[in-house]
């Protein structure tokens, strides 16, 4: 058990931070109380935006790379 924890230290920390941030989202109102969009009622909205935004962007960039990537001497 200990070795698994040590091996995946980053994952453990991330997992704990993710849980803390998500739980906190349920108790503390976001949106500063001054504006009100549909997502201010979803406590985990920013978590979803973070993870899916990240994945979508990495894949978008991968597609872009596939399309626009050339060798270093392309312009020579």
């Amino acid at each position: 058990m200990k070795s698994i924890l040590q091996k995946n230290k980053i994952w453990v920390i991330l997992f704990l931070a993710a849980i803390a941030a998500t739980v906190a989202g349920f108790f503390i109102p976001t949106g500063k109380g001054k504006y009100d969009f549909w997502w201010t009622y979803i406590p985990v909205f920013y978590a979803l935006l973070g993870i899916f935004g990240c994945i979508v962007m990495i894949y978008a960039a991968k597609g872009l790379k596939h399309w626009l990537h050339r060798k270093d001497d392309y312009y020579d």
């Binding site: 941030a21 998500t22 001054k34 504006y35 969009f37 920013y46 935006l49 935004g53 990240c54 392309y74």
Partner: protein
């Protein structure tokens, strides 16, 4: 009240550097921004310096809150950049840097459009030198493309300004009304602000600049454009979407980049997008946000570029595919880099958090929900590339064998000062707020907002960790809009420049030969025109010796007998004719 233009302090400084002893120049470089800073503190909003030129009233210096805010940060970063470049003994580069910084100050304190145009052009030329000074062939090409683009922008700006003056009769730089002249001026500002598709000069040239020069490049050109947009075009709604498109475009194109400084350059596009979106919103909070973001961006982006420059200085390499595992050899640079990276991603209690919050809140107060989501998405992209990917593949990941050179102390000092300012302005945002153009009441450390940000960043980290394998950097170039002038550029060169060059060469050759023969003939006409043998030989003997024979009257004078005989015969004939007529 007459006030001395702050820009002149740096520009005079650039001229003074020439006459100072070489060893004292790096230290003297620091004196001028320090003097300018003191002068800026002494100036107060409302100070003007006016003059009249060609019946047009000019305000060469206009001091107000907006120009002061940009002025402060410009001189601060000039000073810090001077410390960073303390080891650099290239005098021309130091002079170009001071001119560049001075003309940037000139732009932000220009009260009229003509003064602005003049400083705008000096900026373009001075900054191009910072790219050329690298001395590589890549830098020469990129610098030339950079200069061409800025001269184009400058010409568009001049056209817009002249049209504006002829239409309104005034050259004063105030908020613009819609019209052809305003659109031309806006277009010129957008070129300098690197708005896609006019941004490729930036991502093409900045990574090719000198290690110290790129730090200054990243600070001035785009930020003066942000200033000019904030002054002239605040509240132009289209800028909201232009800015958001920039923010997203920048972060998406950042991801496939391999060169550290190119990655950071793409990210400038994204960051300037935030500022332009805020300018488009136009409310007092938004313009404050844009200004605060410009100030913060100059700080942390300079620190990022300094750290990337330090890696390049120390290893000679600047691409992630050739680096890795540098943590053991450059831990200090890593720590300083991470301060800037946290700041730029808007991690709470760093300065980027403050200005990003101002901008997204301004968008939210206007009720533009899509803008809020997209700006947050851009923040995810920033975090992904700047805070996770770049440091991971540079300081960790699998190491590549590189030789690590010791860094000059000045580099560390400059980075430490910048990092410290990032931390202080992040923890005490009131310092930053006190120099913004509009009075501001904003609670930065709202618990809900901090939790939103933490969720965003923690989950983005999870996303990156899941996909780290496919984000591995790869050597090569990623095409962008510069393709449209770089690729056809070759063909255009073949079609337009090569034939003209050849024709010019031909004419030059012919005229030189003509001059050669004319000279030879003038020196010794008899020798050349009548000595047939030589003529037929084509002067080969003279060509070989390289000397033209000198005229010798005894040897080469034409024999007199035929002439005497002709004259005598003519006189006899004349006499005979006279006798007959008698």
């Amino acid at each position: 009240m007459i006030s001395f233009p702050p820009a002149l302090i740096l520009i005079i400084g650039a001229l003074l550097l020439i006459i100072l002893p070489r060893q004292t120049r790096p230290a003297a470089f620091l004196v001028f921004p320090a003097l300018a800073f003191v002068w800026l503190i002494y100036l107060s909003p409302g100070d003007n310096l006016s003059a009249t030129f060609l019946n047009t009233a000019l305000i060469m210096t206009r001091v107000d809150e907006l120009s002061l805010a940009f002025g402060y940060i410009f001189v601060i970063i000039t000073f810090i950049g001077g410390i960073y470049a303390y080891h650099n003994k290239n005098t021309t580069e130091q002079i170009a840097t001071l001119l560049y910084a001075g003309s940037s100050l000139g732009v932000v304190f220009a009260g009229d459009l003509l003064t602005l145009v003049i400083f705008w052009e000096i900026m373009a030329v001075a900054s191009a030198y910072l790219i050329w000074a690298r001395g590589t062939s890549l830098a020469r090409g990129a610098g030339m493309r950079y200069l061409m683009m800025h001269l184009l922008g400058g010409s568009i700006l001049i056209a817009g300004v002249l049209l504006h003056i002829s239409q309104t009769g005034s050259a004063v730089f105030n908020p613009m009304e819609a019209g052809l002249s305003s659109y031309l001026i806006l277009l010129a500002f957008c070129i300098n602000a690197a708005v896609p598709p006019l941004h490729a000069w930036l991502t093409d040239a900045y990574p090719e600049g000198t290690i110290t020069g790129t730090v200054f490049l990243g600070a001035f050109t785009t930020k003066t454009a942000v200033y000019a947009l904030a002054r002239g075009f605040a509240g132009w709604e289209m800028l909201i979407w232009v800015g958001i498109a920039m923010a997203i475009y920048g972060v998406v194109f950042v991801i496939p980049q391999n060169d550290l400084r190119r990655l950071l350059s793409y990210h400038i596009v994204s960051q300037v997008g935030y500022m332009i979106a805020a300018i488009g919103l136009g409310s007092a909070l938004a313009v404050d946000g844009a200004t605060a973001h410009a100030i913060n961006n100059i700080l942390y982006k300079s620190l990022l570029l300094m750290a990337a420059g330090a890696v390049l200085f120390s290893t000679g390499k600047s691409t992630m595919s050739e680096l890795g595992g540098l943590f053991k050899s450059l831990p200090g640079v890593f720590i300083l880099y991470m301060i800037a990276a946290f700041a730029i991603s808007g991690v709470p209690f760093f300065n980027g958090f403050v200005s990003k919050s101002l901008i997204t809140s301004a968008a939210a107060y206007e009720g533009i929900g899509l803008a809020v989501i997209l700006l947050n998405l851009a923040a995810v992209g920033t975090f992904l590339s700047i805070t996770l990917k770049l440091p991971y593949f540079t300081w960790f990941a699998e190491p590549h064998p590189v030789e690590v050179k010791k860094l000059p102390v000045g580099m560390y000092i400059a980075m430490a000062i910048t990092g410290l300012i990032c931390l202080i302005t992040g923890l005490f945002p009131q310092i930053l707020f006190s120099i913004l153009p509009y009075p501001i009441e904003y609670r930065v450390f709202d618990t809900g907002h901090i939790i939103e940000t933490v969720q965003l960043l923690v989950f983005a980290t999870i996303g990156f960790c899941l996909l780290v394998k496919i984000s591995k950097p790869k050597a090569g170039v990623v095409l962008d809009f510069d393709w449209f002038y770089r690729r056809p550029g070759k063909l255009t060169y073949q079609a337009l420049v090569v034939p003209v060059n050849k024709f010019f060469g031909l004419v030059e050759n012919l005229s030189l030969r003509a001059v050669h023969y004319l000279t030879a003939v003038s020196i010794n006409p008899v020798y050349y025109l009548y000595s047939k043998v030589r003529w037929n030989n084509g002067f080969s003997a003279e060509k070989k010796s390289g000397l033209l024979p000198v005229y010798d009257p005894d040897k080469q004078r034409y024999t007199m007998e035929p002439i005497v005989i002709i004259v005598v015969v003519f006189i006899i004939g004349l006499l005979g004719w006279g006798l007959i007529r008698l």
